[in-house]
Symmetry: C2
Subunit: 327 residues, 2 copies
């Protein structure tokens, strides 16, 4: 019964993807799940290599994430950051004392010549994460956004954490992406997936810098299984973060339909929230099958329900595609 | 009265030098004191640039050093190191949570292009250290020791911390020293010193990699003031650390006389402990003036007394040199 444990590959940003994966592992075998993770938010801070999306997913699947902050570790302390205060204003990006160990380990292994793919697997293994966590690329890609007010180009983290995404932006680019290449492991996970899922992460700064890595769209095109996305925009708003503002500021439609338009070349099905049921027709007109359900992952149970819906939608689409249109 | 605030330049390792400086600042104007500090123990660990001797001196002069351990900060916590344990055996070299901030700051500033001299001054200033702290060089020099048992060459920290200096060694070398160069600031501090002091630090792995940096001996030769050393060997033993064993294993005499022999080309006066009074004649025969006193810095008060003795000895020697031999 291969359908009971299909290979599932999830294209991921950080928090939204982590919550989806936490539900998915309750309804599918973790060993059959691969997460292809955005690295364009990665940075070197205080000499340490930091991969925010990878860490958020690792800590969430390890049930070690801080549930209130939504990032970093539970029962965290901030002694290093407090001490850093003595040296000036370097502590705008908070790193907990325990969390520092992850960045130190990553930095040390990278400096020893390990790839980010290897280090990510080692760290995931140390946290007993059963899902295969794959950075989309081992190359350095850095999201840069241009502030509308000053015209200045700043890093994603300066925008997201430094300004608390309070400023409007006029453009986004992924520095280094032309020279980057999808890893063999990530390409293979996409090619062999029965279902590819696009997690409900920020389309502009989390999903785009995965899809746009050279080799990713080719791997997606080469497969025959379904591709199911979950809209990160619900009722015209992002549940968390600046996705809706960003879409709007970049001249895109901040709605479930806007998401369907953005991803219509890669997705077959878009899960939209009950509140967005009115978008179903417009989404169909993009050539994307709408699937209306509860998409709010307010609890692990509801995350699991959403994961089950994704698998149903993917399975349904595959069956329909194989059988041809229903008479 | 220039003699009341002579320029004093102290050649330093870590703990012994730090204790001496703590006494010296009580009897001389900190603004007239420069410390030329060994960097051959420096290392990159977990991606962080660590300068143990500079930090020990900074923290000691800031009265922030842990008095029991003799290194690192007081009231320290070890959350990052504990968390690092999850990733394997990387935590052989303990870094406290607050201490990590110093290494992060140093690493960040170096990666921004600041020199170690600049970063050291900035960190010292943040801790309100009045003494001018100068790394002897901005270049990378790494102490390597060869284990007698295995013939393997290991880093100083692997020897000192990893094996707790429990293995015999057959040789010591300073990787990179030929290409290194004394900084302009350190050379100037030596040239303009009324008194140069060699602190009671390990002669083999703390003082040698300062004296042997190209440019240091030239700067010492170019000056006319006295050079006063304090023997780190008392009663044939080091007060702390492996200095006596190292001298012995390298075929040198582990005694106050052995120290005089080692430094006879640069020092005029050697302060030796009361228990070593019997070495005075042999030391004189090396062309070095012995000065017998209490050299055990068991308290800040005794450190101050030793510092006062050093200044007296230096002044006495200078006066004698100027006046010629007493009739």
């Amino acid at each position: 019964m291969p359908d009971l444990s299909p290979n599932i590959t999830v294209i991921c940003g950080g928090v939204g993807a982590a919550r989806f994966l936490r539900g998915l592992v309750r309804v599918a075998d973790p060993a059959s799940i691969s997460a292809i993770i955005n690295v364009a938010d990665d940075m070197v801070l205080h000499g340490l290599s930091i991969s925010p999306d990878i860490d958020t997913i690792t800590y969430t699947l390890a049930d070690a994430i801080d549930p209130d902050r939504g990032w970093g570790l539970r029962n965290e302390t901030w002694r290093a950051m407090e001490a850093l205060g003595r040296y000036g204003d370097r502590n705008w990006f908070s790193l907990g004392d325990q969390d520092l160990a992850t960045h130190m380990q990553r930095t040390a292994r990278l400096s020893e010549g390990a790839s980010l793919t290897e280090v990510t697997a080692e760290i995931a293994s140390a946290w007993d994460v059963g899902v295969t966590l794959l950075p989309v690329t081992n190359n350095t890609v850095s999201t840069r956004v241009t502030r509308t007010d000053t015209g200045e180009e700043i890093s994603f983290q300066e925008y997201f954490v430094g300004t608390q995404h309070s400023v409007a932006i006029s453009s986004v680019r992924f520095d280094g992406i032309e020279q980057a290449r999808v890893t063999a492991e990530a390409a293979e996970a996409i090619r062999t997936a029965d279902i590819v899922v696009i997690a409900p992460s920020n389309p502009i700064v989390s999903i785009a810098p995965v899809l746009d890595i050279p080799g990713v769209r080719e791997a997606l095109s080469a497969r025959t299984g379904s591709c199911v996305a979950i809209s990160p925009i619900v009722g015209g708003e992002a549940l968390k973060g600046p996705a809706a503002n960003m879409l709007h500021e970049l001249g895109l439609e901040a709605s479930a339909t806007g998401v369907a338009q953005l991803w219509s070349d890669v997705i077959d099905v878009l899960l939209i929230d009950d509140v967005d049921a009115a978008h179903a027709l417009a989404i169909s007109e993009c050539g994307v099958t709408p699937f209306v359900t509860d998409t709010i992952m307010a609890s692990p149970t509801r995350s699991s329900a959403l994961a089950r819906s994704v698998l149903s939608a993917g399975h349904l689409h595959s069956t329909r595609s194989t059988q041809g249109p229903t008479p």
